[in-house]
Subunit: 119 residues, 2 copies
């Protein structure tokens, strides 16, 4: 199996966000992770871009699951970004809405995120 490079963005499903709001939060995570990778993981970043910057959007139950995921990815040395909404509209200010993980090789990501359901 080819070890492709991808990014996983995990979204809380307990917040019941609208689809435009979800899209903006996921985009925020993706941009933050991409810029971090561009600086700190140049080779991975280039592979990810060349492969079409693949992204998988998954859903997790709540804030605690997101934080556990982030912590696990951090401990593996994978790039992460937690996104807290400014809270102008649908949620309270500072609410954790999603976590971006990667880009990283699927051999590193799948053990951590492979069991999650697609959003």
């Amino acid at each position: 199996m080819v070890d492709e490079v991808k990014m996983v963005i995990a979204v809380r499903k307990d917040l019941d966000l609208g689809k435009g709001k979800i899209a903006a939060q996921v985009a925020h995570a993706a941009v933050a992770c991409a810029l971090k990778a561009e600086k700190k993981e140049k080779k991975i970043f280039r592979k990810w871009m060349e492969g079409g910057q693949k992204k998988i959007v998954v859903r997790l139950a709540n804030q605690q699951e997101l934080l556990e995921l982030k912590s696990r990815a951090d401990s593996e040395g994978i790039i992460t970004e937690a996104i807290f909404d400014a809270g102008h509209t649908q949620v309270d200010p500072g609410t954790l809405t999603c976590v971006g993980i990667g880009p990283a090789e699927s051999s590193a990501l799948d053990p951590i995120t492979g069991s999650f359901k697609l959003l």
Copy 2:
């Protein structure tokens, strides 16, 4: 009024995409526009990042409306990125799903995108 810097991502509503699919496509547009701005519009890019990389996700009726929007933004010298889905899942390969516009000053963006409805 403060002339804030923002990015607008316009999504086709006639494709009836799932929310995870929309989020991934919008994220794709946001990353592509951000990386382009980082290279070609350093000052705008920095202002956008410092302002919390604001994003507005709007909906347009169909492919033609997206292409017209892109053409108008291009003619104003605003960064744009059209996203065509690889089509592994919900749509045919090469389907135009969304267009990212900016980051740009709201004084440049609003005349073009100000009338669109939020997704």
